[in-house]
């Protein structure tokens, strides 16, 4: 199978996003697509999925012109797409989600045992036999949901599989299992398009890499004959001198102390300190309890036992509002689900956490609000710089900047960032690391939760490692290796 895009153009509301993209995907090969935010990756994926019509150019399948009138057409041809945003129905079981609309029947009734067996076999095939097909999809962790999503795409043998940022929620062994799967699919002759910001992965898994920038293909490279630096330079259109700022750890006085914090069935007896001006990383596989610890510290969930001390005094945050008032901020891991109100504009989203502060007698000071928002748009380089645009229309990286802006406006003393660079392009990531570094100079304490090993070591002063709901190790970022941290996180002595 050979799929070619020739001069594909696509725009929305008069703004062209793809300016004539040429691309070739072949059966039995993994093509990676790399590009910064707003480069047009998402639009390209939608074109391939038949989700949006073309404005110009053509798609050729084995040399013959092809018209995709809708997602059904694409699926009928065996083109499967796993989007970055999960599209499972949380109230339905894994089986129902995977076989949605194609449940096996016997005498007109759904044959549940056959259905579950079928899905179990699929999950086994993708290396996730530990997922129970009878469980509701919403009960699974995001990483597990992602795998269910992939199982769904494989329910009908695909000819082409498009994976949009699959590693955004996967880490460690989960990612290895995904790569095994990709290699098996490649041997079976499936064409694979792997879209990712994470260049280490791209280099590892792909046969060729197409870099797009501003809606155009810049170059197509072979991993053996290129380097991460070269790709980054192509993506950014400039050479990024240094990804992580140089840090000389100078922890000030302790700000936040967590003592024996537990939440039944989620995590147990977690204790750590954060000092002013310090960046502490927290690493752990998905399900290790990292995000849950953060939520409890922030008052979003109730701990079963344990205390949180701020400035040496025990505090009890009963609601996020209490935590915000005390100077603690939490950037949650899933911005669409818990970070943004997508239908509302940049102004509202930027000021949700501070709007009561800029109110007098209940009335918003709208001049001050506009000034604050403008300030943040400039400081974080939110693009386009229009406060009245619904955040739904912003790219992933800019949405993340809006979330950051919301929390920076609260002037936090303790800033907890849960996967702040997920689905964010390299140039924006560098901006975020730089911003975090600057905050520490003002005495802010940072807790950076991440499943990206390179990031968790590169951007922090020391790293806490969690495994199975417990804090199992603490290492200095400069004195350790990725292997050591990973070993701690999976419980193998380094």
């Amino acid at each position: 199978m050979k799929l070619e895009l020739r001069g594909v153009r696509k725009g929305y509301g008069g703004v062209e996003v793809l300016h004539g993209v040429d691309l070739t995907a072949e059966g039995g090969r993994v093509l990676a697509i790399a590009g910064a935010n707003g480069a047009g990756k998402s639009t390209l994926i939608k074109v391939l999925a038949g989700a949006v019509p073309l404005d110009g150019g053509e798609i050729l399948l084995d040399g013959e012109a092809l018209t995709l009138r809708g997602p059904e057409d694409a699926q009928g041809l065996g083109f499967r797409t796993v989007y970055q945003e999960l599209s499972l129905v949380p109230q339905m079981t894994v089986t129902e989600n995977v076989l949605l609309g194609a449940l096996p029947t016997k005498r007109g009734l759904v044959d549940w045992s056959a259905a579950h067996a079928r899905v179990r076999a699929l999950l086994e095939e993708i290396g996730f036999a530990d997922i129970d097909p009878r469980v509701r999809a919403g009960k699974l962790s995001v990483a597990r949901q992602q795998m269910v999503e992939i199982a769904k795409a494989l329910a009908v043998e695909p000819r082409m599989l498009v994976l949009d940022e699959p590693s955004a929620v996967l880490a460690g062994t989960d990612l290895d299992r995904l790569f095994d799967l990709i290699r098996r699919l490649r041997e079976r002759g499936v064409a694979i398009l792997y879209v990712s910001h994470r260049l280490a992965e791209v280099m590892e898994i792909s046969d060729s890499i197409t870099v797009i920038k501003d809606g155009r293909v810049v170059d197509t490279l072979t991993p053996a004959r290129t380097s991460e630096d070269e790709i980054i330079a192509l993506m950014a259109g400039r050479r990024l001198e240094q990804i992580y700022p140089d840090r000389v750890p100078e922890p000030g006085k302790p700000l936040l102390s967590v003592r024996g914090l537990s939440r039944d069935g989620v995590f147990d007896d977690v204790s750590f300190d954060l000092a002013a001006g310090e960046i502490v990383g927290m690493f752990g596989l998905v399900g290790s309890g990292r995000s849950e610890v953060a939520r409890c510290v922030f008052g979003a969930d109730r701990p079963t036992s344990g205390t949180v001390e701020l400035d040496g005094a025990v505090t009890r945050f009963r609601t996020p509002g209490d935590a915000i008032g005390a100077g603690v901020a939490l950037v949650t891991e899933d911005r669409k689900h818990s970070g943004l109100v997508l239908g509302m504009d940049v102004t509202d989203n930027t000021t949700f956490a501070t709007m009561t502060r800029i109110s007098r007698a209940g009335l918003l000071d709208i001049r001050r609000r506009a000034a604050n928002v403008q300030d943040m748009i400039e400081r974080l380089g939110i693009h386009p710089p229009r406060p009245e645009i619904p955040v739904r229309h912003l790219s992933g990286g800019n949405q993340q900047k809006v979330v950051l802006a919301k929390w920076l406006l609260t002037r936090p003393r303790v800033l907890i960032l849960d996967e702040p660079t997920r689905g964010v392009d390299m140039a924006t990531r560098v901006d975020i690391y730089r911003m975090i570094d600057e905050l520490t100079r003002e005495g802010v304490a940072i807790l950076l939760i991440s499943s990206d090993l390179t990031e968790v070591l590169g951007a922090t002063d020391r790293v806490l490692v969690m495994r199975g709901g417990r804090l199992v190790a603490e290492v200095g970022s400069a004195d350790t290796t990725e292997d050591e941290v990973l070993a701690h996180s999976v419980g193998v002595a380094a």
């Binding site: 509301g13 922030f298 979003a300 609601t319 996020p320 509002g321 935590a323 915000i324 008032g325 939490l330 949650t332 689900h337 818990s338 970070g339 943004l340 109100v341 997508l342 239908g343 509302m344 504009d345 102004t347 509202d348 000021t351 949700f352 956490a353 709007m355 009561t356 109110s359 209940g362 009335l363 918003l364 709208i366 001049r367 506009a370 000034a371 928002v373 403008q374 748009i377 386009p384 710089p385 229009r386 406060p387 009245e388 645009i389 619904p390 919301k406």
Partner: protein, 336 residues
């Protein structure tokens, strides 16, 4: 979505550099109605012109006053309904609250001074709304079910209070509903004032933004420190307040309080919000749109009566007009 487009155009018209004049564009945006509202206003004007030309009794003072008076109930209920709809909820109980507060004000006025009787009735309305709000917020029950139950309960309480219609003993009771300032009924002035307050609430207070945020993404605003439950209770309580005011005014206009009054009022209120661009899933809706929806519905009712259309056909036509209005909005949304 549609609003943003307007302001983009304004920015370029006034030659401002993108984003450099945020406060100015924020103010502009408010001054220019969204296309939805403009379409509705256009439709209303067209109806008025056609009706004025073809029907002699339409543009008379009497009919105009009457028309305004008829819009008051739907208007007040739609205003309260909008606040609830913004949060992603719905309030089916408002028709029953109209009956309960109406009959209580008419009954109480025989024993209490007029202002106090009215106040008590309105407070009862607020309490009804608060009960709805607490059930929805504290016990996380579905608004549809909660207010369906309370719709029946409040109607029952109305009959418990009085099985027969009550004629208020104080003639002054009728002032609120039947007196005019010039040709404008006092009740219409009150309604407009409440819409103005509603506009301020939604656009200029943190509580108003919180209501929209709750409807858009409840978890996100909760994590931003917004007290979600408190704001939900507020929305339903204000809906009760609006229904209370509507109930008193209606009893005062008719001159007799019926325990059976107000059935189906909630549907007109919801229709007005939806025609005006509110989304029943929450997070979207405007005061201007809702007001335009109320006016359009009022005009349709008034005209169909003037043309002596049989009341069954009135219902058919009204239903069709609502459907068309919503279809038009759908097309508009897809274009943006």
């Amino acid at each position: 979505m549609t609003q943003q487009r307007t302001s983009v155009v304004l920015d370029t018209d006034s030659g401002e550099v993108a984003g450099a004049a945020a406060p100015a564009s924020a103010r502009w945006r408010v001054a220019v109605p969204s296309p939805t509202v403009l379409v509705l206003i256009g439709a209303a004007v067209a109806i008025v012109v056609v009706a004025g030309v073809t029907n002699d009794s339409f543009l008379t003072e009497g009919n105009m006053t009457n028309l305004l008076r008829q819009m008051v109930s739907t208007g007040l209920l739609a205003l309260g309904m909008l606040l609830v709809i913004l949060t992603g909820g719905i309030d089916l109980s408002v028709g029953s609250v109209v009956a309960l507060t109406g009959i209580m004000s008419a009954g109480l006025v025989s024993g209490l001074p007029l202002p106090l009787a009215i106040l008590v009735a309105i407070v009862v309305g607020v309490l009804c709304g608060t009960v709805n709000g607490v059930m929805v917020a504290r016990f996380s029950l579905a608004p549809f079910v909660v207010t369906l139950a309370s719709m029946t309960t409040f109607r029952g309480l109305t009959y418990v209070y009085s099985k027969t219609p009550i004629t208020p003993t104080t003639p002054d009771f009728l002032t609120l509903g039947s007196q005019d300032v010039g040709i404008i009924p006092i009740a219409a002035i009150i309604t407009l004032a409440m819409f103005a307050l509603g506009w301020v609430l939604i656009n200029r207070t943190s509580a108003g933004r919180a209501l929209l945020g709750i409807g858009g993404n409840r978890e996100a605003v909760r994590l931003a420190g917004v007290k979600v439950r408190r704001h939900l209770v507020l929305a339903y309580a204000l809906s009760g307040l609006c229904a209370g005011v509507a109930g008193v005014i209606l009893a005062s206009r008719v001159g007799i309080a019926q325990p059976s009054v107000g059935q189906g009022f909630e549907l007109d209120a919801i229709a007005a919000c939806v025609i005006g661009g509110a989304s029943l899933s929450g997070g979207r809706g405007t005061i201007g749109g809702t007001l335009a929806g109320v006016v359009l519905l009022g005009l349709i009712d008034n005209l169909l009566s003037l043309y002596d259309v049989q009341s069954y056909w009135q219902q058919v036509l009204k239903g069709l007009i609502i459907a068309v209005a919503i279809l038009m909005r759908r097309g508009e949304r897809q274009n943006t």
